[in-house]
């Protein structure tokens, strides 16, 4: 089944120059391995296709049950140069939570994830 990340994680995002960062945090500890497996850098790059012009890097923080993504060249030049409403990438957090991942029905059931 498909599950939107909104059901599995919460997130906060911010900026460093023209790079946006999105921290993705598992809502429950047992969701973290699913995030690690499914929400790869490549998957996030595809998701933000029209927005992120550069590379996507991913870092794992198992201690916080979180993943950190760096989306390079995503903020229209960044800081004061950017003409975007969201020049600081503060809403990239929920933009990532729109992502839908595929989970086997059995696994979803055992994790208590509803479609």
């Amino acid at each position: 089944m498909k599950a939107q990340l909104l059901k599995l994680a919460h997130a906060r995002s911010g900026d460093k120059g023209d790079t946006a960062n999105v921290g993705l945090i598992a809502l429950r500890d047992e969701f973290y391995p699913v995030l690690v497996r499914e929400v790869t850098a490549a998957r996030v790059k595809r998701h933000f296709g029209g927005i992120c012009k550069g590379e996507v890097e991913r870092f794992e923080l198992p201690n916080l049950k979180a993943l950190n993504f760096l989306l390079h060249e995503s903020l229209g030049g960044g800081g004061t140069l950017s003409l975007m409403t969201d020049a600081q990438g503060k809403t990239f957090s929920t933009a990532l939570l729109r992502l839908e991942i595929e989970i086997a029905d059995d696994e979803a059931r055992s994790l208590g994830i509803e479609p």
């Binding site: 919460h10 460093k16 960062n21 933000f48 870092f59 030049g77 003409l83 969201d86």
Partner: protein, 455 residues
């Protein structure tokens, strides 16, 4: 040595809730109040103010705040660390000294001033000695923008602030110090942490990172169960209760709104994060993958396990420079076909700008209510959307072209698609763009100084 020190954050940025520091002082026991006033854009504004008036160039709000809270701080021995000095910490200290004397506190406190961060006057010397100050993002040497530089400041760390506290300063005013240093310095001072005790310095740095954005760790901007976060109208700003071993508890005053829990603190930990293994400050390199969080009761989160690594041999420099001009204009289109109308207006506007022969580095269009924040991820806007705001921005080196753009927005009301409004604010303003040039400089080039004087 005290076994527990309470450091409170009273200001997450310049422009944060004005009464937050007052409430931190009055709402319960604290030992230190840290106040962060400096965003990157602030430094260039202050540099311009100082060029016009040698007594200006600092966060003016800090002075009336001191008038309000200094008597209580002296009475209850609350010490203040603030980067309110901007590009002119001595002038800020003079103003605070005047206030203290007016309040009858002469002879009852010492003021600390940290300087040495401002390298504006040394740029040519540094460049001539072969330091290129290359842009950390683009790799370009600073010489490419030399003529347009407006301010240049090194991010100093906690050590000079701790030194001022060691020498008895009640209030320490810095220029461009790191946000984290304002929290770490009191812990170094109180607990006598050595300058190479990397684990503890990293712990104090992370404590600083958690509280430096004010209520953003105590319920503000928190996605986790946001609808149930109580009483944000009366949100409590965060407090770190630190212990000598480097562990600490994040909390807030009793009876305040907001929420401190593991999810709220985790959200703040990942905010503006780069490589979590290497959070670099002048004081140490902190490893965020070692942080352990634990629920320690209502509105209490215990933080422990933090490891750090040796500081690097460099300071980060933040240089601001003039980078052209920009303006943003908006109009609101109403149902029906609000999005289509806004799109049509954008096409008309662009055709007119083209016909006028105006050159811009960038023209950027957004449709607020349709896709301004999430772009195509938001899906196709509904034809029934009650309204959509057209928002067009331009950026370029030619001020006149940007100025001309600002005069092309209002005419769309009578010469474009129908059911349009939202121009009551008048023509958009042309803004000078001040851009940032992050670079590194060897620590040997910089001499931070802490001066402490009796009021």
């Amino acid at each position: 040595m005290r076994e527990r020190i309470r450091v409170a954050c009273g200001q997450g940025f310049w422009g944060d809730l004005l009464d937050a520091p007052v409430r931190q002082v009055e709402g319960g026991r604290i030992d230190y109040l840290m106040l962060d006033y400096l965003a990157e854009v602030t430094m260039s504004i202050m540099q311009k103010q100082r060029a016009r008036d040698p007594r200006a160039g600092y966060a003016r709000d800090f002075v009336p705040l001191m008038r309000e809270i200094l008597p209580a701080c002296v009475r209850r021995d609350i010490r203040v660390t603030a980067n309110a000095g901007g590009v002119n910490p001595p002038a800020c200290a003079d103003a605070v000294r005047d206030v203290a004397r007016e309040l009858g506190l002469g002879g009852r406190l010492k003021l600390g001033v940290v300087t040495g961060d401002n390298i504006m006057d040394r740029i040519d010397d540094l460049l001539s000695r072969g330091l290129e100050l290359r842009n950390m993002d683009t790799g370009e040497p600073l010489s490419t923008v030399r003529e347009r530089i407006q301010s240049a400041n090194v991010y100093l760390g906690a050590q000079p602030i701790a030194e001022a506290l060691d020498r008895g300063a009640q209030v320490v005013i810095t220029g461009r110090a790191t946000d984290t240093g304002l929290t770490l310095a009191p812990l170094i001072h109180e607990f006598g942490w050595r300058a190479d005790d990397w684990d503890r310095l990293a712990a104090g740095t992370i404590a600083g990172h958690i509280i430096e954005c004010g209520a953003q760790c105590s319920g503000g901007n928190c996605q986790y169960e946001w609808q149930s976060i109580p009483d944000l109208a009366d949100v409590g700003f965060p407090i770190v209760e630190a212990s000598p071993d480097g562990t600490f508890v994040v909390t807030k005053h009793e009876g305040t709104g907001g929420r401190v829990n593991v999810p709220s603190v985790t959200e703040q930990l990942v905010y503006e994060m780069g490589d979590p293994h290497e959070y670099i400050t002048p004081d140490c390199v902190a490893d965020f993958t070692t942080i352990r969080l634990e629920d320690a009761g209502e509105n209490r989160v215990r933080v422990f396990g933090i490891k750090g690594k040796p500081a690097t041999g460099f300071y980060k420099v933040s240089i601001s420079y003039a980078a052209g001009f920009k303006a943003v204009g908006t109009l609101v289109y109403a149902w029906p076909q609000a999005y289509e109308k806004a799109q049509a207006a954008d096409q008309i506007l662009r055709a007119r700008l083209e016909r006028l022969g105006l050159k811009f580095d960038l023209i950027h269009t957004e449709f607020v209510g349709a896709n301004a924040t999430h772009g195509a991820l938001a899906g196709e806007p509904s034809p029934d959307a009650p309204e959509v705001q057209l928002r067009v921005g331009v950026r370029g080196q030619d001020r006149n072209a940007v100025e001309r753009f600002t005069k092309e927005i209002a005419p769309l009301i009578l010469t474009g698609p129908p059911a349009v409004t939202g121009f009551a604010g008048g023509r958009p303003k042309v803004e000078e763009i001040v851009a940032y040039w992050p670079a590194l400089i060897p620590k040997s080039e910089i001499e931070p100084r802490a001066e402490v004087t009796e009021v």
